[in-house]
């Protein structure tokens, strides 16, 4: 067999430059608010409940309707359908009652935002305030006000278990072994409780949706979206139309972090647009609205009890989670579930009692945020691990290495874990901060103390067992490639790795591949959602399948034309080559017009299009009583972070000196993009650990602005950051890849908490570890006077 003349260097594993970088740095990238609609565009504003819990007695819209420039005013009366992803528990606009401050009560479309805003003031609403539920543990008490009396009648996914007649919208149970007997065998047991407050995604681009309904009743929506297909699905169902009658187009997305998944404010724009047929209606959230009227990260009250034997081997865990799910928990119920089946953290524990409750409260709506329950859960769990290690006299790193999951370890839900590099991740971050060696002592008179902390994590994509991906691949007359996908680039680089994967499978240079963006449900192939860190794995597989389909068609065509076997052919750098005869044909010569038959009778082949799809395989359910199942999730991404920090004894202020992360991503399709996720996640984690808290007092958001809700700026990042890629292949991932987008934010809070303890010997009930809280804790503990 002849040697191939051209070397094919596969772009997989290369840090190719982002496919969309140039348009973003020149200001040419189009985001939803950049779209031009001309004079037909109307602007919407929403009238919202000022009460956390109230009956709506009467709404009078007459004065608002009469204001010149107002084209429509709508209320819940017009929209009787429920909407929701895992649990259909909310209306598009409130009908009989409002359940959180900000709950939409009416909507206005007008010729300008100013006039629409004026019209809101003219809408008169009579409320009867009701007693609110402000805490999830209060929400489950027998005399708590019931926020959803019809809970038992709501349409619900088969794996979510609401308790009718209560405020519990989901209860996930994990039962394994016998914890009561196990406590007796433990040499050390600790019990701790943590409160993790609400935070918000704070994408730099707030939520926005522009909807237009034509005279046939068909809907088009332009929106900054992680989930065009899911949004179409949910909104269509709620309005009683068919999915094909609704089209969703998502231009560039200015940050999502989970907040632009599912449906939050998008249904409002569509509902209002139905009243002004033919006009596009733009609804954009103000920054203030962004903080509490779309999705927030739900709060958590967590109780941990864990014990180990004298050698440090974990014997039992009894963990209870009460999720402050907010007014509607149609998405939050799955967060509670995911935390339930993950409640041990990435460790092998033979005896487990886990209960994870999603509870209705009169707080903003909890939805998916980077980590999907894992950051909130690990925040307390990884501190307990440190404390237990300390109690048994073991080093925190050795304790974790002893107990962490390794290839074939038994999972909390039964079944075995696939090959993973978690122990390697733990060791690598420990090495990177020189673990075991005390931090360089500050000068004796120094008013600063240094400490080191570590935390490990795991997370599986939390999605239904039939969450599907699909892709098409086509070629143009010049031989260049177009890839159709339904997944979104929300900054993580999905479009870039799509091009890499397609190029590598097909045998063309990376630069030849374009991604058919923006995602448009009319033309793009179906993708469940851009969430769960699932795209590289799931959509990547679909693209591989589509590109393989194209490759096969091309090679079959060339093989027939050259009278050779396709096995002797290859595509290298965009050229079909034969290893046997050394014949060559550039792709552009055959991918549209085919090849002529040698006898002069016509042509064979034609325009080539390939298709592929992918769906998770063999995902079993989890038993409703025990949470056990042979293959409950598709896979886990695991990893660890370590930090070294300094505490100022006079102010309580924390400075992160060094932050290190190591994650087992299976295969880094684009190493620099993977590292970029690790860096961004670490900083968002630091921000959530030190700065962020959506303050809710009696149900009222108190700090819904970027002045009062501070996020990390360029001055808040560690002096030194290191990102380490570990690769233990995922057998069913493209080139062995699995996800990373969320995981990089998961262990940061406890790594910092553990380092604070190492530095000054205090632990707090929960983040944020603000200077004030740290100082007062040190004062309380007598560390400062």
């Amino acid at each position: 067999m002849a040697e191939p003349k051209i070397q094919n260097s596969s772009p997989v594993g290369e840090s190719t430059p982002r496919i969309d970088a140039r348009e973003k740095v020149t200001g040419a990238a189009i985001y939803t608010d950049d779209l031009q609609f001309g004079n037909a565009l109307l602007y919407a504003r929403i009238k919202r409940s000022p009460h956390p819990h109230a009956l709506i007695k009467k709404i009078d819209v007459t004065k608002a309707k009469a204001l010149p420039g107002v084209k429509a005013v709508v209320t819940g009366e017009n929209f009787p359908g429920y909407i929701g992803l895992y649990l259909q528990d909310r209306y598009i606009f409130c009908r009989d009652r409002a359940r959180y401050v900000g709950d939409p009560v009416a909507g206005v479309a007008a010729v300008s935002e100013e006039i629409a805003q004026k019209a809101l003031d003219l809408i008169e609403v009579q409320y009867e305030a009701l007693e609110p539920v402000l805490d999830p543990e209060a929400g489950i008490l027998p005399d708590a006000p019931i926020l959803h009396p019809d809970l038992g009648k709501y349409v619900v996914a088969g794996f979510i278990y609401p308790k009718a007649g209560t405020n519990i919208s989901n209860h996930f149970k994990l039962r394994k072994g016998n914890v009561e007997e196990a406590w007796e065998k433990c040499a050390a047991v600790i019990e701790r409780s943590y409160r993790i407050p609400h935070i918000q995604h704070v994408p730099i681009e707030p939520h926005i949706a522009i909807a237009k309904v034509d005279e046939r009743g068909e809907v088009t929506m332009w929106t900054s979206s992680q989930s065009p297909f899911a949004q179409r699905n949910l909104i269509a169902q709620s309005l009683g139309i068919s999915q094909s009658e609704m089209r969703v187009i998502s231009p560039a997305v200015g940050g999502g972090f989970g907040g632009k998944a599912g449906v939050s404010m998008e249904s409002l724009a569509v509902a209002i647009a139905m009243k002004v047929k033919g006009h596009p209606v733009k609804l954009r959230l103000t920054r203030e609205e962004e903080f509490f009227t779309a999705f927030v990260r739900q709060g958590l009250v967590a109780h941990f009890k864990m014990g180990c034997d004298k050698n440090g081997k974990l014997l039992a865990m009894e963990n209870r989670f009460y999720w402050d799910g907010g007014a509607y928990t149609e998405y939050g119920v799955n967060i509670a579930r995911a935390a339930g089946y993950s409640c041990t953290g990435p460790y092998e524990v033979p005896n487990i009692k886990g209960d994870s409750y999603c509870v209705y409260t009169n707080h903003p709506v909890g939805g998916p945020m980077r980590g999907f329950g894992m950051p909130e859960m690990h925040a307390g769990l990884e501190q307990c691990m440190d404390e237990l290690a300390h109690q048994i006299g073991m080093d925190a790193v050795e304790f974790r290495k002893l107990n962490c999951l390794k290839t074939d370890s038994i999972l909390a839900t039964g079944g075995k874990i696939h090959p993973i590099g978690l122990e390697d991740c733990i060791q690598k971050v420990a090495n990177a901060v020189d673990w075991g060696r005390k931090s360089a002592a500050s000068a004796p008179a120094s008013r600063k103390r240094r400490g080191k902390g570590i935390a490990a994590m795991w997370k599986a994509p939390a999605m239904p067992p039939n969450a599907g991906s699909s892709a098409w691949v086509e070629l143009a007359e010049d031989g260049k490639v177009n890839v159709g996908i339904g997944g979104q680039d929300i900054g993580q680089g999905a479009f870039t790795i799509s091009a890499q994967v397609a190029a590598a499978t097909l045998g063309v240079p990376y630069e030849w591949v374009r991604v058919a963006a923006p995602v448009d449900t009319r033309y793009s192939p179906y993708e469940w959602q851009t969430v769960a860190s699932r795209l590289t794995w799931s959509m990547g597989n679909a693209i591989v399948n589509a590109a393989k389909d194209v490759r096969k068609q091309i090679l079959d065509l060339a093989a027939e034309a050259w009278d050779e076997s396709p096995d002797e052919l290859n595509i290298v750098n965009g050229v079909v080559i034969s290893y046997k005869s050394e014949k060559e044909a550039p792709l552009k010569n055959l991918v549209i017009y085919g090849l002529p038959n040698p006898d002069g009778r016509g042509w064979k082949g034609g325009p080539i299009i390939g298709r592929g799809n992918f769906m998770p395989k063999d995902v079993t359910g989890l038993d409703a009583e025990t949470g056990q199942g042979e293959h409950g999730v598709v896979h886990y991404t695991t990893g660890a972070q370590a930090v070294e920090l300094e505490v100022d004894l006079d102010t309580g202020r924390i400075e992160i000196l060094k932050g290190v992360a190591a994650f087992d991503v299976g295969k880094a399709i684009n190493p620099e993009l993977v590292k970029a996720q690790m860096e961004g996640g670490l900083v968002q984690g630091i921000s959530s650990a030190l700065l962020e808290h959506l303050q809710l007092k009696d149900g009222y958001p108190k700090n819904a602005s970027l002045v009062d809700y501070r996020i990390a700026t360029s001055s808040d990042i560690p002096r030194e950051m290191q990102s380490i890629i570990v690769e233990v292949a995922q057998d069913d991932g493209p080139w062995g890849a699995r996800g990373i987008g969320e995981h990089s934010m998961v262990p940061t809070i406890p790594a910092i908490a553990n380092a604070i303890y190492d530095a000054v010997g205090v632990r707090l009930e929960g983040p944020p570890f603000t200077a004030e809280k740290v100082y007062l804790a040190m004062l309380d503990a007598g560390i400062v006077k």
């Binding site: 990238a29 200015g254 700026t713 990042i717």
Partner: protein
């Protein structure tokens, strides 16, 4: 509502435009002139996504009234590249991988350009300081800071 006729130079082009008194510079750029590169993140001067150069100084354009800009020179992200040749701050940001969702990027680039204009060889500390008014949620700032240091080493536009 009063209207004002203003002359303003944007990216080296003179515009004569009539603006209402309450229109911000950001709104004028985005809505009247369809220069949508400048982004609206908060309309309250807190995020920096709307940063432009006003007579050479970086400002939050959502906090400046269009009517105040009579006779002013404005630089927006669309004006950074010259004849398809990118400004070093743009080039460097692509190279270091400091772009993710891209929404903060125009504001970051303008702030970076402003810094290098007044301080051609900044220290890393000075870069952090200069960018403190530009919020980014995706990147963690590392590669952005690196890109400004890198841009400082690169040749500026050939004029």
């Amino acid at each position: 509502m009063t209207f004002h006729k203003i002359n303003v130079t944007i990216n080296d082009e003179l515009e004569q435009i009539i603006v209402p008194s309450n229109m911000t510079l950001m709104q004028m750029l985005r809505e009247s002139l369809a220069l949508t590169g400048t982004k609206n993140g908060c309309s309250a001067g807190e995020c920096g996504a709307c940063t432009v150069l006003l007579n050479g100084e970086p400002v939050n354009s959502c906090m400046v009234l269009a009517a105040e800009c009579n006779g002013a020179k404005i630089l927006t992200v669309e004006g950074l590249a010259r004849d398809k040749q990118l400004d070093p701050v743009q080039d460097a940001l692509i190279q270091t991988g400091g772009v993710q969702c891209g929404f903060c990027t125009p504001g970051i680039l303008i702030s970076s350009r402003a810094l290098l204009n007044r301080n051609p060889s900044p220290t890393e500390e000075e870069v952090r300081e200069a960018l403190v008014g530009n919020l980014c949620r995706c990147t963690g700032y590392v590669r952005i800071i690196e890109s400004v240091m890198k841009a400082a080493e690169m040749k500026p536009h050939q004029i």
